[in-house]
Amino acid sequence: MKTSATDLELAIQMDEAARVAHELRLKRDRQERNGRILKHIFLIIVSCVMLYPLFWLLASSFKPENEIFGSLTLWPSEFQFENYTKGWYALPMSFTVFYVNSAIVTGLSVIGNLVSCSFAAYAFARLNFTGRSFFFALMMMTLMIPYHVVLIPQYVQFLNLGWVDTYLPLVVPRFLASDAFFIFLMVQFFRQLPRELDEAAMIDGCSPFKIYWAIILPLSLPAMGTAAIFSLIWVWEDFLAPLIYLNDIKSYTVPLALRLFLDQEGQSAYGQMFAMSVLSLVPVVIFFVLFQKLIVRGIATSGMK
């Protein structure tokens, strides 16, 4: 009889416990859901604030010229698509030409950056060699100089090489790891990978090149993806170097072409410029969305083990 009594007690207790646990879980779920809802609300508000200027840009690209600065209302009084259609052909070359040019320059530059900067970063991060700190400091120094003062000596240098009015000054430096930002970025990421991997590989007889190719690179996909995104966006939007080095309008890149729209003294075409600015963002956004997934996938297979 005693067992059945304790059994019953036990059953009641367990039931009690189960109920409590269930309630706790419900409460927790509710909290989490509320938390998530709050988070979403917050993010949505922030998103709206973040996006408002972009909406303004988009709206302005549909407005007739005299409304862009005159009225504060976001909504255009009439939708003018001709800013887009006219704008595409407004300049001496159609924007097709400019987009192709930008694609060439950007594509080459991104490849160049990824390859040369990862080489240099691997050396700085993983290999001990004489002069490492010295060269690292030199590299950092190139980051700190304001571009405008080396502009002219650099121009003269490229002029002497006969590279002016070609894409060479824009692309070649990228294959020579000229952008220290990416070297530094990759160094920071490489340093986080466990050294045991390197050591194990070395014991197996792998050369540094093999280690770089087979171990470091695959594990650094987040860094590579980030570098690719930044590289693409910055090169796509760079206009100072193209301004200085490109003379022939047929070779202009998109940001440079946008600058042909505005003239302080004469007639500007703001509506068309805005329309073209909006369009110039499209490839970048597409690339960004595509590459985002790469980062996510790379992390999912993160070889921290």
């Binding site: 002029l159 004469g266 500007s268």
Partner: protein
């Protein structure tokens, strides 16, 4: 990228051709190439490339490479090319920078070509002389303009303004501002606040009988001139008949942000060749008025060359370049394409040929130009080195006055001192 190698080959050919001792005979039977660099906008670029096409068709052996960018970046690139001794053969020049470049030896004089390959004998002398520095012609005037007070004709009609817009004085101006502001219930003010516009201030100084820069390139405007100018605008501000001060302190705004374009004032100060651009963004029809005169004073305005074409020191094939320049200002087909886009042409023949084809706004600018001929003064002396910086100082110190943070008299004195120091340092 055949582009890269083709360009390299072309430039080598060009260099080889130039290096040959016989300027007229190219080393190969290939094209001679000249480069033309100008600042532009979509409309101007379209016309200029059309001109290049036309010229190339008529001159089979010469290729013209057209290089252009907007005003904001034009001078940066120009400076870079100058430093690298890689300027285009023909560059578009502005009055503001002409003297800087001439004084530093970046441009070649044109006198040796005048009368032989550059036919400008019957051109208006005054506007042509604008391109002369130290007696030599360094820049060919490719369009003239003058200062203009662009006004909103609708607002003027509604307020019943009937002032003589060519001969009016600053007092008349003040009254007009009051009327406009009153009629619109304060929504539209009479005029933009011109405190910070040194170009208009220079007219004021001229009306007082002085030039801003004297013969030695020193600052000859006085603190009283400055104080008088800033005080007048301060009074207008107090009466509430000019544009809101917060808009005034935005410097060098684009045309589309001016009072007349946005619609919050009825008058803005510009150059006459900008009227086409202004009408494009203004909702109402615009009209042209002179800068108000000082009662009993000297004329303040002058006919200014709006832009020039110059031969750079790096030009190699000068013969081809001058041929191009000559066609630019004389060839009827080419001048027909260019129209009034860069300003009023110097050549009476060209002007006559253009008259039948003018648009309404263009006719307005030509009529205005004709009407002011007898009311303007002589072209002022060239600005010395440092003029750009003086302009910046004027706007900077004036901003404090506009915002009420500085007293007029004190600021005026400080500005004149600063200006003199700047000009001295720049020598």
């Amino acid at each position: 990228m055949t582009k890269l190698t083709r360009r390299a080959v072309l430039s080598t050919i060009g260099a080889a051709a130039a290096a040959s001792a016989l300027p007229a005979t190219p080393l190969f039977a290939a094209d001679r190439t000249i480069r033309h660099y100008w600042w532009g906008n979509p409309e101007r670029d379209k016309r200029t490339f059309a001109v290049i096409d036309t010229f190339q068709k008529k001159n089979a052996g010469i290729k013209v490479s057209g290089e252009t960018i907007g005003w904001g970046d034009y001078w940066t690139k120009m400076a870079t090319q100058t430093a690298g001794r890689n300027m285009a053969d023909l560059v578009q020049m502005d009055y503001r920078f002409l003297f800087e470049y001439v004084h530093r030896g970046a441009l070649k004089p044109l006198d040796e070509f005048v009368g032989k390959s550059l036919m400008i004998a019957d051109f208006d002398k005054g506007p042509l002389d604008g391109g002369k520095v130290d007696g030599k012609l360094y820049a060919l005037n490719i369009g003239s303009n003058s200062q203009v007070m662009v006004h909103n004709t609708r607002a003027f009609k509604e307020a019943g303004i009937d002032a003589d817009l060519i001969n009016w004085t600053w007092d008349d101006f003040g009254k007009v501002c009051e009327k406009i502001t009153a009629k619109s219930g304060g929504k539209m003010k009479g005029s933009d606040d011109l405190s910070l516009m040194i170009e208009t201030f220079e007219s004021w100084v001229r009306q007082n009988g002085r030039e801003f820069y004297g013969p030695e390139g020193k600052v000859t405007a006085t603190a009283e001139d400055v104080a008088g100018w800033w005080q007048m605008w301060a009074d207008l501000r107090k009466a509430g008949v000019v544009r809101d001060k917060n808009k005034t302190v935005i410097l060098d705004p684009p045309i589309a942000e001016s009072g007349i374009a946005v619609g919050d004032t009825a008058m803005s100060h510009y150059w006459s060749n900008q009227m086409v651009g202004i009408q494009a963004v203004a909702k109402d029809k615009i009209g042209a008025a002179m800068v108000p005169h000082k009662a009993g004073g000297k004329p303040g305005q002058f006919i200014k060359p709006s832009m020039f074409l110059s031969l750079s020191r790096d030009a190699k094939d000068t013969e081809a370049a001058i041929a191009y320049m000559n066609a630019w200002v004389n060839d009827p087909e080419i001048t027909g394409i260019l129209g009034l886009e860069r300003g009023i042409p110097c050549s009476p023949k060209v002007r006559a040929a253009l008259t039948p084809k003018l648009t309404e706004v263009e006719k307005l600018s030509v009529d205005y130009f004709t009407a002011i001929q007898s009311k303007v003064g002589p072209l002022p002396l060239p600005a010395p080195k440092g003029a750009g910086e003086v302009r910046d100082a004027f706007m900077r110190i004036g901003t404090d006055v506009v915002l009420g943070k500085a007293e007029v008299a004190e600021a005026a004195g400080m500005f004149i001192e600063d200006a003199q120091a700047i000009v001295e340092r720049a020598q």
